[in-house]
Every structure is written in C-alpha cells, then in structure tokens.
Amino acid sequence: MILIGESINIMSKTLGPALRERNPKPIQEMALAEVKAGVDYLDLNIGPARRAGDELMKWVVETVQAVTDMPLSLDTTNPVAMEAGLKVCKSRALINSVSLQPDRLQAGLPLAKNYNADMIGLLWGAEGMPRDANERCMLAVELVYQANDMGIPTENIWIDPIASPISVEINQVKSCVEFMSMLAEVAPGCKSTVGLSNISNGTPTHLRPYLNRTYLIMLMRYGLHSAIVDAFDAELNAIARGKMPEVVKLVHRVMDGEQIDIKSLSKKEAEYVKTARVLTGETLYSHSWLEI
C-alpha cells in the first residue's frame, strides 16, 4: 500500500501563503514531518495555478527536493505547471492527474509519455462525475485505451475512482467501492489510488479519521494500490501497513452483511462497526453516527 501525504496544499491556511510568498521553510518542515510520519510519496498541490503556475511548481519541487528525496506527486490542473515540475523532478514522478475531459487528456498523456512518469487517471468524464460503478468502468477502460494508444503502459496508470463525501450522496460512496471490486477485471494490470479524505468532507473535523480509516479498509479489500491521505493519522498508517488485522476483519464482516452485536465489542471495535455501517449504506449517515 502506497501512501501519498496530502498536506502540502495551496488550500492550507498556513502552507497556502507560504507557497504564494515562496517561503521555503514551512513547506520543507511539512515535507519532513510527512516523511517522518511514514508516507511513501508527497503530493504537491498547487491547485489550478493560472498565474505563473510553471514557476510555482518548479519552485516547490526544488524546495522539497532540497530536504528529501521522497518521490513526488505533482498536483495541478495546469499542464504548463505540470511540465515545469516534471522537468526538475529527480525521481520518477506521479502526475496528479489526467482525466477524460478532452483538454486535460490531450495535455496530460504526452507529459506522462515524454517524462516517463506515472499518472493518476481520474475518472472524471467529459460529462462530469460518473454516476455509478458501471460508468466508472466505462471511463476506466476508455482512459487506459487512450493512454495505451499513446504508448503509456497500463502499469503506469493509477486509476482514481473518486471518493465523494458521505454527507452528500451515499450511492456514490458505495459505487466507488463497487468499482474497486471490478477494476482488476475491466483493466487488468492497472494500479489505483483515491483521495481518501474526501469521504469525510463536510463531517465534524474530530470525527473525520473514523470515516477515512474505515473507508480505506473497505477499498483495500479490493486491492487499492495507494491513497492520498492525512499523513499524520497514525492509526490509518497502521491499517495501511497491515498492522490492524482484527478491525479489518470486523469491517469485512459488516461489508458481508453480517449482523454484529455491538454490545459484545470494545469501544474501538464498535466505532469501526458503526462507521462501516454508514459507509456501506446499511445505516443512514448523521453527524452523531458514533453515538447511536
């Protein structure tokens, strides 16, 4: 399981200004903290970066590379910025991301090919977000076909089926898991990733880790290759490293529809079971889901 640290992000209240002001210190400190927390990649998210994006991406890549040789995931929708980052990346980069929107596809694929980079294939189509698992399959097949056609090998593609917030639409939460169970069949050899924290977007901040961890277990069951995560959630890291087989088993039992008696469980086990129940759609989500 590859973990990609999400913290270096233009949306961050502290790092956003540091990125805009080209202040290296907070960014380097965050990079080192994420490395210490045990991730395998660092995501560098500069957003759409419409103005001087190329200069910003080059700067942040070099700034981070000055303190660590951790592989980088370059996260922007601006292809010029992406290329500027790829040019200075010392290790094999991950392009985050290429989608099926025509302009992003046309701009992204040549970059993956020319720089021999891995690429995240975001399942966002010309018509927006896929509505269910089948549409995700269609988009995945199409994306792999287009990439292969350009000469990009399947194993360089990390499909991102899009995790969407549980507080918005449970069917999308379920479809993403269902799709993961189909991916190996529809696109053999493909890798996968997911922006995990999005599952808990809009939920109370102190409760977000419960949803992130349990959803990771559910996706890992179907072979999730990597995830973009909160590097500082130690329990999430332990799950990803296979150190919590007991709760994993418990979550799988909920996924299989087993009725588990909450009273027989420890507090932590009960929290995983309750969270799995809302993520499978067995129970409707509410902010108090752990209390009832």
Binding site: L284, S286, I292
Partner: protein
C-alpha cells in the same frame, strides 16, 4: 407461468403523533408502507391538511388567494374561524409573518398575545410557524410556548441553530416540535437525534424537510422525502420514522406563475385556475412522497387534494 408481483419487505413503521389537545385532536403517522401502497401495508391515519392563517394582512397575495378570505384577513381569529366553519379546516397553521425582523418586526409579546387569542378561540390543533430567523424565533416561540402552556401547540420551524432553546421551551410547556432541515436527509436525521438527546419524546416530534413547489425544485424535495420513508420503513432507521409536515402553500403562491394576473401572461392561462392547480398539484406530489401534514391556502386546492386522498385510500 403465474406472475409473481414483487413486494417490498417493510421492517419499520412511521410513529404516530397526536397533534393538539382536547376534543378535536388529529393523529398522523402510523404508516406501515410507502404512501398509498395500501396493497402492501396500512395507512392508519390519512394525511391531514392545515389551513394557513397569517397574523397580519397579506400585502402581495394573488387576488384568487385573497378572495375566499375577504373580510377576515385583518383578524387572525376571524380568519381561523372562517377556515374551520366555512372550509372545514381540521387544523390551523398560524404564520407569524409580522415578526420578521426584515419586515414589520413586531415584538414577541404582541405576537404571542395574538397566538394566545387564536388558540383560545379554536378547538382544532394549532400550528405556529415562525420566520426561520433563529434569534427572533427563539424569542417569539419561547414566549408563545409559555403563554399557551398545555395547549399542545405545534411549534416550528425548529432548526439546528435554535433547537436547544425552542426545544427546551416546548418540552417545558408540553408542545409538539417541528424539526426543520434544509432538504438534506442526513441533517434531518441529525436534528432528530439532537432533539431526542435534548429530551423531546418521539410522540412530540414531526419533521419538516423544507419543500418547494412545482417548477422550483420539488423533485429534490420529493427525492429527500422518499429516501426518508425508505430509511424509516425498510432500514429500521428509528430517527427518520416521524410524520412529515410540508409547508407548501407559501411556496406555490409566491411564484410568479401563481401570482401574475391573467392579463399579464395570457399564455399561462387563467390566473385563478393556475394558482389553485399549482398548489393542489404540488401538494399531491408531496403526498406521494410521504407527507403526513400539508399546510395549504386555497379552499378549492384543498378540496381537490382531499378528493385525491379519499380516492387513493378508498377500499
């Protein structure tokens, strides 16, 4: 080969809530199947209609909506009585329009006194509806709760932002609470949990999913209500097994499609018929989605909806 008709397996039931007090109470809820699926379960109590009364004379109502209440719109007591005596209202919904801080901003004490007068003058259940301004509603509804204690009013909208203080007053003075959320099933469940935590018993709670009329996003309301019923009836979600109240009259009658006079938009047809049909058809759509109580305005729209309810529940 015989055809097997698919049947839904219900595992839950909508809670029964009795509104009002004394002789003319109204009991709603109790469904054991989807709305009007009488071939699969029971609708112990038919959906009920409350007639809307304003606490100040309406200034921008369509002529068609004003006409049935000519002469009484300046007096909420007379208006409520007309609804009951002339139009057979089973419940009254008193809209505290005058308390709106962005409008007349009538003081809480005055507004509460009007509520008291209306509640003393009628014997059917009385719904009291604020302006959804948390501060003002807290002030007004708390006072109403106290002044009309033990009258078992139905107070709303109670939202997450004011649920503690209005909820506590309702609890202290024995009223029913309308839990109101902005067209979101997860938030609806959450508010019901919070009100439960506060101590509001299940039989004093109804929920308002926030609705709009035809042409203004009713599909979205429909879908949220439908999912509430699915969760409550087939997923044993106890926190969504409450009767649903829909305040639809204002939403349909405030639209330009309902208000514009015939002469201004002849292509839309006769204004009177248009307004009535918009209200009636929006109401019927909400019944199909699971409404237990409708707040309605026009007597003819109400008549149409009553007929529809009678037809759909005829054995």
């Amino acid at each position: 080969m015989p055809v097997e008709i698919p049947k839904i397996a219900y595992s839950g039931k909508v809670k029964e809530v009795t509104l009002g007090k004394g002789g003319k109470t109204v009991t709603v809820g109790g469904e054991t199947s989807y709305p009007f699926y009488l071939f699969e379960g029971a609708m112990t109590n038919k959906p009920k209609i409350a007639m809307e009364v304003w606490d100040c004379p309406p200034e921008d109502w369509a002529a068609a909506a004003l006409e049935p209440f000519a002469g009484v719109t300046g007096d909420p007591v007379a208006w409520a009585k007309k609804c009951i005596n002339d139009y057979g209202a089973e419940m009254i919904a008193l809209e505290l329009i005058s308390t709106d801080p962005n409008g007349l901003n009538r003081p809480a004490a005055e507004a509460a006194a009007v509520v008291k007068k209306v509640s003393d003058a009628i014997d059917v259940p009385l719904i009291v509806w604020g302006t959804a301004n948390h501060e003002k509603d807290t002030e007004v509804l708390r006072l109403v709760a106290e002044l009309c204690q033990d009258k078992r009013l139905i107070l709303g909208p109670v939202e997450e932002g004011d649920h503690k203080r209005i909820g506590a007053a309702s609890l202290a003075y024995h009223h029913t609470v309308i839990a109101s959320t902005p067209i979101d099933i997860n938030l609806a469940k959450q508010l019901n949990i919070l009100l439960g935590n506060l101590g509001v018993p299940d039989d004093l709670l109804v929920m308002d999913p926030t609705v709009s009329g035809i042409g203004y996003g009713i599909e979205y309301c429909y879908s949220v209500m439908e999912r509430m019923r699915m969760a409550g009836l087939t997923q044993q979600d106890e926190k969504l097994q409450f009767p649903i109240i829909c305040n639809i009259s204002k939403e349909t009658w405030k639209t330009k499609e309902a208000k514009s006079p015939t002469g201004e938009v002849p292509e839309l047809g006769e204004a009177r018929k248009r307004g009535i049909l918009l209200e009636a058809m929006s109401s019927v759509a909400l019944l199909m989605a699971g409404a237990d109580v409708l707040i309605m305005r026009h007597p003819e729209a109400i008549k149409l909806v009553r007929e529809m309810i009678a037809d759909l529940t005829a054995s």
